[in-house]
C-alpha cells in the first residue's frame, strides 16, 4: 500500500520555546501555560529532597519565579525543561541551606532531619511529600488513565501512544498509521478528550476542594 502523498506540513515546533518567546515579548499568560505544564514534574523533583508538602510547593513557586526572572538568559540551546530543572534543584538546595541555619524551623520539615525520630513515620517509598489522601487520589487518577486508555478504540489509543510515549510528530504518526495528518490530529485530540473526561471529576475544583 503506497503511503499518502507528503503534505506540506511544517516541522513541529518546540512548544516550550514558542511559549518562552511569547513570554519575553510580554505575554505573561504564556509563561503560566509552562507553569501548568511542568508543575507536577518540578514538584516531584523537589519532593525527593524535601518532606514538607507546603515547603515543596513553596520551593516550586520560587523555582518558577526565578525562571521567569531569568528567562531572558535562556537562549534556547538546551531544552527549556533541562534549564528549569537546574533552577529547581538549585532553589531547593538554597532553601534547604537557609532553613538548616534557622533554629526555629522544625526538622520534620526537612528530609534527613528526623532519621532518629521514631515517631516520624518514615515513608516506605521515596515519593514526594503527600498526605494519604493525595496519595490515594493520585493512584485513582493513574488507574483511571490506564482504564480509559484500555477502553479507547484501537486507532485512538495507537495515535496517542505514538505521540505521548514514542514522541513521534504528527507527520511521522501519519506515516506509521497510514492516514492524513488531519486524522492524526483529530485522533490524538479525541483520545485526550475521552481520557480527560474521566479524569476531570477526580481533580480538585477551582477553589481547591475535592468534589
Amino acid at each position: 500500500m503506497t503511503p499518502p502523498p507528503p503534505t506540506a506540513a511544517p516541522v513541529p515546533a518546540d512548544t516550550d520555546l514558542m511559549l518562552v518567546e511569547r513570554t519575553v515579548a510580554g505575554d505573561q499568560k504564556a509563561f503560566e501555560l509552562l507553569v501548568l505544564k511542568y508543575q507536577r514534574r518540578i514538584e516531584r523533583l523537589i519532593g525527593r529532597m524535601v518532606r514538607d508538602v507546603d515547603l515543596v510547593e513553596d520551593i516550586a513557586q520560587e523555582t518558577f519565579i526565578r525562571a521567569y526572572r531569568a528567562l531572558a538568559q535562556f537562549r534556547g540551546e538546551a531544552q527549556f525543561y533541562t534549564w528549569l530543572y537546574r533552577i529547581a534543584v538549585n532553589t531547593a538546595k538554597k532553601t534547604l541551606g537557609d532553613l538548616k541555619r534557622d533554629p526555629l524551623v522544625p526538622e520534620s520539615a526537612l528530609r534527613g532531619g528526623d532519621d532518629d525520630d521514631e515517631t516520624s513515620g518514615v515513608e516506605n517509598e521515596l515519593t514526594s511529600a503527600e498526605t494519604p489522601e493525595t496519595v490515594l487520589a493520585a493512584k485513582e487518577i493513574a488507574a483511571t488513565v490506564n482504564a480509559a486508555m484500555e477502553a479507547l478504540p484501537e486507532e485512538l489509543r495507537q495515535a496517542v501512544t505514538l505521540r505521548e510515549i514514542e514522541g513521534l510528530s504528527y507527520e511521522e504518526i501519519a506515516q506509521v498509521m497510514n492516514c492524513p495528518i488531519g486524522t492524526v490530529r483529530s485522533r490524538i485530540f479525541r483520545a485526550r478528550e475521552a481520557i480527560s473526561a474521566k479524569v476531570k471529576p477526580l481533580l480538585e475544583n477551582q477553589s481547591g476542594k475535592r468534589w
Binding site: 511544517p10 515546533a13 501555560l33 538546595k93 541551606g97 510528530s169
Partner: protein
C-alpha cells in the same frame, strides 16, 4: 490543513507544537482568556505525564498554583522577564567556591557524607579540620599545600547528632569513585552503578 471548529482540538495540537500561524495566535489568545481552554491544556498534559509515569498523577488542577504564582509576581516589581535582572541560575553562594576550580560548594547537600548516628567522638572529628581540596588546576595538591589551604567552613557540627552531620572530604570522594569503578563486578551496577558513579563523582578530584 482542515479547519478545526473545536478550540480544544487546537489546544491539543498546540501542545504538540503542531499549530502554526494564525491558528497558533488564535489558540494562544483563547488560552489567555478562556478558563475552559486552560483546563484542557492542563488536563491533556496531565494525561501525557501519567501515561509516561504513574508517579506524576496528581489531583491538583493547577489553578491555585498559578493564582499563587501570579500573586507573587505582582508583589515583586522586578520580576519582568524581558529585562534581564541578572539573577544567575546557579546560586550566588556557589560563586566563591567556584573560584577554587573544581571544588564542591560547601553547602551542596549532594556531595556530603552524612555521618551515621551513634558515632563516638563527634567532637574529636570536629577538631580535625579535614581540608576541602581546592583542586587547583585539577592536580591533587601535595601534602604541604594541603596544610596551608584555608579550611573551608564545614557545616555546623552538633555534639548530639539528631540529624546527619555532613562531612566533605575529597580524598574520600576519590576512594568512592574508585569503588564505583569496580561496578562491573555486580549485576546491578550497570547502568545504575556507573551512572551513580558519574552523578555522585566529586568534581574536586
Amino acid at each position: 490543513m482542515e479547519k478545526m471548529s473545536n478550540m480544544d482540538e487546537m489546544v491539543s495540537a498546540l501542545a504538540d507544537g503542531e499549530l502554526h500561524g494564525e491558528a497558533f495566535a488564535r489558540a494562544m489568545d483563547a488560552l489567555a482568556t478562556d478558563a475552559h481552554a486552560r483546563e484542557s491544556w492542563h488536563a491533556y498534559h496531565l494525561v501525557g505525564d501519567v501515561l509516561r509515569s504513574a508517579e506524576l498523577a496528581s489531583p491538583s488542577s493547577g489553578t491555585d498554583f498559578v493564582a499563587r504564582f501570579r500573586a507573587r509576581l505582582q508583589d515583586d516589581p522586578t520580576a519582568v522577564p524581558a529585562v534581564p535582572v541578572g539573577l544567575p541560575v546557579h546560586d550566588d553562594r556557589d560563586a566563591p567556591s567556584r573560584v577554587a576550580a573544581g571544588s564542591v560548594p560547601a553547602n551542596a547537600p549532594g556531595f556530603g557524607w552524612p555521618l551515621l548516628a551513634g558515632v563516638a567522638s563527634l567532637t574529636a572529628v570536629a577538631a580535625i579540620a579535614w581540608n576541602i581540596l581546592g583542586g587547583s588546576a585539577g592536580a591533587p595538591p601535595a601534602a604541604a599545600e594541603l596544610a596551608q589551604a584555608a579550611p573551608q567552613p564545614l557545616r555546623q557540627m552538633q555534639a548530639e547528632s539528631s540529624r546527619p552531620v555532613m562531612i566533605r572530604d575529597a580524598r574520600l570522594d576519590e576512594l568512592l569513585a574508585a569503588h564505583r569503578q569496580a561496578g562491573g563486578a555486580s549485576a546491578l551496577q550497570m547502568p545504575a552503578g556507573f551512572l551513580r558513579n558519574a552523578t555522585f563523582e566529586s568534581p574536586g578530584r
